[in-house]
C-alpha cells in the first residue's frame, strides 16, 4: 500500500504556523475570531494526522522519508532537511494535535475575557507548530531547532501573565534550567556529527550506523548520555526537574498542553527516536533506567505533601515521566511509548479539570476547596476518571500502561520493579488525597462555585473517555500496539503477579487517602505529627531548590555582581577617563583663550621657543 497521506504529512505543522502568522499579523483587529482561526487550523491538522495514522494502522510498516531539500552545503558536506513519517511519530502527531485541539477549545472558556487572548492563541499555535515539527523532523539538527522553539514557546506561555512576578521568575527558570539540558543535546549532536560516517545526522543513517556497529561502544555511551541530558532537561527528570513545578504559574490550559501532555514528553520521544544509540550502550540504558526510576519515586513522595493543586499534578507529571524513562532504560520501548500515549490523555484531563476547579473557586490551594463534587458534577466525574487512570486502577488506561512497564521491570530489573510499585502506591495516595480534599467533604471557603461552561466541560468529557478506554489498544490480551510500534512480536507480558501487586498498590494508596482525607478515621497528621522533619523535608521538596540556590544561583549571581563591578568601574572607568582627559584639556585651552592679545603673543613666543629648541636640540642627539 502506498503512503498516500504520509507524503502530505509536512502540511500538518504548517496549519498551526499559518494560524500563528495570521494571528500575529492581524491579531489586534480580531477578538473571538482569532480563537476560531487557531482552533480551525489545528482541527485541520488533527484530521490530517488521523488520516496519516489511519494509513499507518493499515499494516504498512514502512516509514516514509522525504529529505530532498538541501538546506546547508559546505564543501562536500551537506545537511538536508525533510520529514519522516513512521508509526512512532504518526502516533505522536495524533496525540499532539488532539490535545492541542482540545486545549484550544477549552481555552475559549478558561481564558474568556482576557484581553490578550489572541496573543495566547498565537503562542499556542506556534507551540503546536514547533511540537509537530519536532515530531516529524527527519534529522537531529532539525529536531534540535524545533526543540529550542518549543522551549521558547514554553517560556512565552509560562510568562504569559507577565505582570505576576512569580510567573516571570518561573518563565526564566524554565528557560534557563532546560537550557542546561539543551547544551547536552547539542554536544551529543556535535559528537554524532563528528563520528557518523558521512557526517549525516538523519535518523535512518543513525539507525544504520548503530546497527552496523560503525560507532565505537564508549562513543555511543557518551552520545547516549548527552542526548539523555537533553531529555532530562526537557522532561523534568531529576536533577533538572525543578523548573516543571514552577512552570505551573502559567495558564492552566498551558500546563495541560505543554507541561503535561506534549513538550515534556518530547524528552521521552527524543530518547525513543534515538533508541538505536541507547541500545548500543548498556551503560547508558542503565543510567536512563536509574534516573527514571529515582525520579519516579522521588517526585511521587514530594507530591504527597504539596498543597497547590497544580503543583501536585506537576510532581505527578515528573514522576510519570520518570516511569517512561525507566521503561526505556530497561528496554520496554513499547511500554514507554504506550505510557506516554495514555499519560498524555489522563494528565491533560487532570490539568484541565483542575483548571475548571481553579476557574470556579479562584484559588489553587486545596485546603481552601472541598465539597465541590455537588456543584461541579462533570468536573468531579472526569477528574475521578483521570485520577483512577493515573492511580492504575482496572480498567482505566493508566492501569494497562503502568502494568506493561511494571511487568517488563519485573522480568528484567527487580529493584526497579519495587521502586515502580512503591511510586505507584504513592501516586494513588496523593491522587486520592487530592480528590477527597477538593471534591469531597464540606465546603471550606465561602466562594460560590459553579460548573464551568460547555467549552470547558466538553474537552473534559472527550479526554475522560480517552483516559478510560485508550488503554485497551495494548493489553496483555491484545498486543497489537506493541507489534505495530516496534515491528516485532512482543514477548508475552501478561504477568498475574504484577497485575495483582500493582492493583493492590493502587487500591491501598486510594484506601489510605480515603481513610485520611475522606472518612477521616486516620488523623491527617498521623505521620507528620510524629515525624515532623519528614513532612518538612518533603514539603520543602527535599530542599533541592534551596540547594541549587545556594550552590549554583548565589555563586553565579556573585560572579555577576563582580563582573558588573568590573564593567562599571574598570571598563566604564577607562572610557570616562578618556572623556575626562579630553574635557580637561579643552578646559585648559579655554582658560588660555582669554581674549588678551598680549597673552596670545606670549603663547606664540613660548611655542616658538619650544619649536626652536626642539629643532636645534635634534642636532645634538
Amino acid at each position: 500500500m502506498a503512503s498516500v497521506y504520509s507524503q502530505y504529512a509536512w502540511l500538518i505543522p504548517l496549519f498551526p504556523l499559518l494560524a500563528f502568522l495570521v494571528l500575529t499579523a492581524f491579531g489586534r483587529q480580531m477578538q473571538t475570531l482569532g480563537a476560531y482561526i487557531a482552533t480551525g487550523c489545528v482541527l485541520v491538522s488533527f484530521v490530517l494526522s488521523l488520516f496519516v495514522c489511519g494509513e499507518r494502522l493499515g499494516g504498512n510498516a514502512q516509514g516514509y522519508t522525504w529529505n530532498n531539500f538541501e538546506w546547508l552545503k559546505a564543501g562536500n558536506l551537506s545537511v538536508s532537511a525533510g520529514f519522516e513519517v513512521n508509526n512512532l511519530n504518526a502516533l505522536m502527531l495524533v496525540i499532539v494535535t488532539l490535545v492541542s485541539l482540545l486545549v484550544m477549545i477549552y481555552s475559549r472558556g478558561y481564558m474568556h475575557g482576557d484581553e490578550r487572548i489572541t496573543v495566547f492563541y498565537a503562542y499556542v499555535s506556534l507551540f503546536t507548530f514547533s511540537m509537530l515539527g519536532l515530531v516529524i523532523a527527519e534529522n537531529l539538527l532539525l529536531l534540535y531547532i524545533f526543540w529550542e522553539l518549543v522551549g521558547v514557546c514554553s517560556f512565552l506561555l509560562i510568562g504569559f501573565w507577565y505582570h505576576k512576578p512569580e510567573a516571570k521568575a518561573a518563565a526564566k527558570k524554565a528557560f534557563i534550567v532546560t537550557r542546561v539540558g539543551d547544551v547536552g543535546l547539542f554536544l551529543a549532536i556535535l559528537l554524532l556529527f563528528w563520528y557518523m560516517p558521512g557526517h549525516s545526522l538523519d535518523f535512518t543513517s543513525i539507525h544504520n550506523a548503530m546497527s552496523d556497529g560503525k560507532i565505537a561502544g564508549h562513543i555511543a555511551t557518551w552520545i547516549a548520555i548527552l542526548i539523555f541530558i537533553g531529555a532530562i532537561g526537557k522532561s523534568g527528570q531529576f536533577p533538572l526537574h525543578t523548573w516543571l513545578p514552577d512552570a505551573m504559574e502559567g495558564p492552566t490550559p498551558i500546563s495541560a498542553l505543554i507541561h503535561a501532555a506534549t513538550m515534556v514528553a518530547a524528552g521521552v520521544y527524543l530518547v525513543a527516536r534515538t533508541y538505536d544509540v541507547f541500545s548500543a550502550s548498556p551503560a547508558a540504558l542503565a543510567v536512563v533506567a536509574a534516573i527514571g526510576g529515582f525520579t519516579a519515586i522521588f517526585a511521587a513522595t514530594i507530591g504527597i505533601a504539596q498543597n497547590d493543586i497544580k503543583r501536585i499534578l506537576a510532581y505527578s507529571t515528573v514522576s510519570q515521566l520518570g516511569y517512561m524513562m525507566m521503561a526505556l532504560g530497561i528496554g520496554a520501548y513499547a511500554a514507554a511509548i504506550f505510557h506516554l500515549f495514555t499519560h498524555a490523555f489522563f494528565k491533560a484531563l487532570l490539568f484541565l479539570a483542575a483548571g475548571s476547579v481553579i476557574h470556579a473557586v479562584q484559588t489553587q490551594d486545596i485546603n481552601e476547596m472541598g465539597g465541590l463534587a455537588g456543584k461541579m458534577k462533570t468536573t468531579a466525574w472526569t477528574f475521578a476518571v483521570g485520577a483512577l487512570a493515573l492511580s492504575g486502577i482496572v480498567p482505566f488506561s493508566g492501569f494497562w500502561s503502568k502494568d506493561a512497564i511494571l511487568a517488563e521491570a519485573f522480568r528484567h530489573n527487580m529493584p526497579l520493579f519495587w521502586v515502580g510499585l512503591i511510586a505507584a502506591f504513592f501516586t494513588a495516595f496523593y491522587m486520592s488525597r487530592l480528590f477527597f480534599l477538593v471534591f469531597a467533604g464540606e465546603k471550606r471557603s465561602n466562594r460560590e462555585a459553579h460548573e464551568s461552561p460547555a467549552s470547558m466541560t466538553v474537552p473534559l468529557i472527550v479526554l475522560a473517555v480517552l483516559a478510560a478506554f485508550s488503554g485497551f489498544v495494548f493489553t496483555p490480551f491484545n498486543d497489537g500496539f506493541g507489534v505495530w510500534l516496534t515491528g516485532q512480536e512482543a514477548a508475552d507480558h501478561a504477568n498475574a503477579i504484577v497485575m495483582v501487586l500493582s492493583t493492590v498498590a493502587g487500591v491501598a494508596g486510594i484506601a489510605l487517602g480515603w481513610l485520611m482525607y475522606g472518612k477521616k478515621s486516620i488523623a491527617r497528621d498521623a505521620v507528620s505529627g510524629k515525624v515532623p522533619w519528614l513532612h518538612t523535608l518533603i514539603y520543602r521538596k527535599y530542599y533541592i531548590d534551596e540547594l541549587y540556590d545556594a550552590v549554583i544561583v548565589k555563586p553565579l549571581k556573585g560572579v555577576g555582581v563582580a563582573l558588573r563591578a568590573f564593567d562599571v568601574y574598570v571598563v566604564d572607568g577607562i572610557v570616562r577617563l578618556c572623556a575626562a582627559a579630553g574635557f580637561g584639556l579643552g578646559k585648559l585651552g579655554a582658560r588660555l583663550q582669554n581674549g588678551q592679545v598680549q597673552a596670545y603673543g606670549l603663547i606664540m613666543l613660548l611655542g616658538m621657543i619650544i619649536l626652536t629648541v626642539a629643532l636645534m636640540g635634534r642636532r645634538f642627539i
Binding site: A590, N594, G595, Q596, V597, Q598, L602, L605
Partner: protein, 108 residues
Amino acid sequence: MVITPYLTLGAILFCIGLYGALSKKNAVIVLLSIELMLNASNLNLIAFARFGANPSLTGQIFSLFTITIAAAEVAVGIAILIMLFRNKGTADVNEMDSLKESQQQRPM
C-alpha cells in the same frame, strides 16, 4: 668688517621690542614696541644686503618697503587706538579683551 655687531644690535632691539609688546599696559607703548621690532628686522635686512652671502641691493629696497608699510600700519593702528579710547575711555591693553566670548555663552 663683520656682520656680528649689526645682528647683535638687531637682536637686542628685537628683544626690547618683544618685551615691550608683551608686557606694557599702555597701547601706545605697545605700538611703539612693535615699531622697534620692525626696525630691528630692517637692520638685519640691510646688514645681510651688505655682508651676506650674495650682497645685492634687494635687501635695502626691501627695507625701504618695510619702512613705508610700517608708517601706514602705525597710521591705521593709531586710528584704531583712538577709536577704542573714545569708546572705552582707556588705553589699557588688559581691558581690550572683547575677542573673548562672554562668560554666559561659554559652554560649561
